[in-house]
Symmetry: C2
Subunit: 369 residues, 2 copies
């Protein structure tokens, strides 16, 4: 087993300062103390971070590769964030660009347990792209949300998720909302003849999350929505390990990706700790990600690391029916399209518009077909 | 009980676009769907976010106050982050500047359970400022770390914390490190005649954190170090509730404060969910925070909200003995000075330098004395 992994930082600096800045990060992210105050030879040779490469990217930006000791992380995913970016995240001049983990280290975290094939199989999607929508808004009671979910399912959609803002609020507590929506989707799926899956959103501490997962499993749910940055990376690891039958779709809320590269955070780290699908803001919607960023997130999620299953990319955030062909050309068939507000805006035409969405995806001729 | 709390955002925009941008955030952070697709009058009047004020700050920056529904948050601190900044954190043009919570809402979270007075009382500090150092580096075995902790305690320091990088690594597992350091500090404290407290760093999921807290309590520990952004806000809430005898010192690792105002994140939110002391990077050290930012963090931590206890500000990050008088003039006596690497660099003079540190703090004549 190798004893180092690499963290790659993009740093604003100049040619006179970059070497010292790189060395300072290597110290900050390992021993966090003056090296000449360390008298232990093992710590100096095996623990202190090492600057492995500095690449000038032009325009005052440098990419710096630092080799950090695997033993400072162990198998704890929160500790991976702590050692890769913890204190350095407080500096303005640096973005965490990527992590390069040896296969043996990635295997400890395990990656997606179901991944692209598992999600495809759940909804009998064959080789086409997958479809998803969301029930909203916050504040509706369970019966109104369940009615909405049922209408989406009548349109033959693959997955219907809770809005990521839905937690355990008084207007629609999890224990009332989840069974009502699950039942409505079961009934509509039987009518429509398509195995639509309802994906409830989980929240709270580990105890609450476990209770919600058990309740969901009792309702036949096998796919859930989770926000890794809200529940914490260590908590997510535990859930993925304890509920191996569940597929986990990761929501990027609180991702604040300006300081961690979105491709790393959403595309690599969410799958690493067990996300089977990752939602991210598509270009040209409500968020400012570029097409290059989106393509990189998708490519990274599908191949998050040696020996790990791929996770399904889920572009979202203000998507419309009109964009379906263009998005399928852009992402190909290993993707799930998520259209929320645009379908909800159809009002009493919701089921019809949903059916148009699912037909457009099923009928799309992918490049090379 | 009021039904709204305010989130204040600093937005890059211009006079032609700011109103639409503010309204878009009000929708994003509440119902996240087109308003004309909502037919429920209760949701429109009670749930949808409302732009309450827009203030031109000059230079293309605007401060926007948005009133959000308290019922979308409930009592879950992770959900507070989700509703205040979740999706909006993914946008480049906006920083979450502050939260204005009604006292009744803040009381649900509870704030520091021990706070400034509780920490002062633990170490019989009287009216002076408090002192702290850290045992490092990562990679040393428990007996070496315990020896270091003992030498700090002989110098009469108030608190000795684990390096925040210390988790449950093989070189010094928590169950071996914590009792060894606690015992060394007990012995030295008896010799020095000062009630030095050892503050172990906690990590892992809720189950691991609970086990570590129980082990620590059995060793007589009553103060611990925790990283709210690593363990998750909901998990921290649970620990604070379940271990009312423990004081919690919050570490800012993974704070990436460029997108959330440091005064809000470290000064207000960490105390809100129960931190009794908050560590932050002092100006002029290894990090780039300005004096104004540091003063604001300290002032906010000491008065985090109506009806809540104050939390103790802990400036740190590359501090030196030489800076003690200046720091005490700057922060006053309701502060704990944390000097780590600079004391460790003293080598076999560690105890003597630590004693010089504690004497400098005890002897300082605060303004107005």
């Amino acid at each position: 087993m190798p004893d180092r992994f690499d963290a790659i930082y993009r740093i604003r600096a100049d040619v006179a300062t970059i070497e010292a800045r790189a060395q300072a990060i290597a110290v900050e992210q390992s021993v966090e103390m003056p090296l000449d105050a360390i008298d232990d030879p093992r710590v100096l040779s095996e623990i202190v971070g090492r600057v492995a490469a500095i690449t000038d990217r032009g325009g005052g930006l440098y990419d710096v590769r630092i080799a950090l000791a695997i033993e400072t992380v162990g198998g704890d995913a929160a500790q991976l964030l702590n050692m890769a970016f913890g204190n350095t995240s407080l500096h303005d001049d640096v973005v965490l660009l990527d992590l390069d983990l040896p296969a043996e280290m990635a295997a400890r975290f395990g990656g997606p347990r179901h991944g692209i094939d598992g999600l495809r199989h759940r909804v009998a999607a064959g080789a086409r792209a997958l479809t998803c929508s969301a029930i909203k808004p916050l504040g509706l009671p369970p019966d109104r949300l369940a009615e909405l979910a049922g209408r989406f399912a009548l349109g033959g959609i693959d997955f219907i998720k809770d809005d990521h803002g839905m937690a355990d609020q008084a207007a629609a507590p999890f224990a009332a909302r989840m069974p009502a929506c699950a039942e409505a989707v079961r009934q509509s799926a039987a009518v429509a003849g398509h195995p639509t899956h309802y994906v409830p959103s989980l929240s709270g501490d580990l105890g609450a999350l476990r209770r919600q997962l058990r309740l969901a499993r009792n309702e036949g749910i096998d796919t859930v929505l989770i926000a890794p940055l809200l529940i914490g990376f260590a908590t997510m690891q535990t859930l993925v390990r304890e509920f191996p039958d569940m597929a986990f779709i990761a929501h990027p809320t609180m991702g604040g990706a300006a300081r961690i590269s979105p491709a790393l955070l959403i595309g690599r780290l969410f799958p690493l700790i067990g996300a089977d699908a990752v939602i991210f803001p598509n270009h040209g919607g409500r968020f400012g990600y570029s097409p290059v960023t989106c393509r990189t997130i998708a490519a990274t999620a599908r191949a998050p690391g040696t020996g790990l299953r791929g996770a399904l990319p889920v572009p979202a955030g203000g998507m419309t029916l009109a964009r379906v062909p263009e998005m399928l050309d852009f992402y190909g068939r290993d993707a799930m399209l998520l259209i929320g507000g645009n379908l909800l805006a159809a009002g009493d035409q919701l089921t019809r518009q949903t059916a148009a969405f699912t037909r457009a995806v099923a009928a799309h001729a992918h490049e090379g077909q």
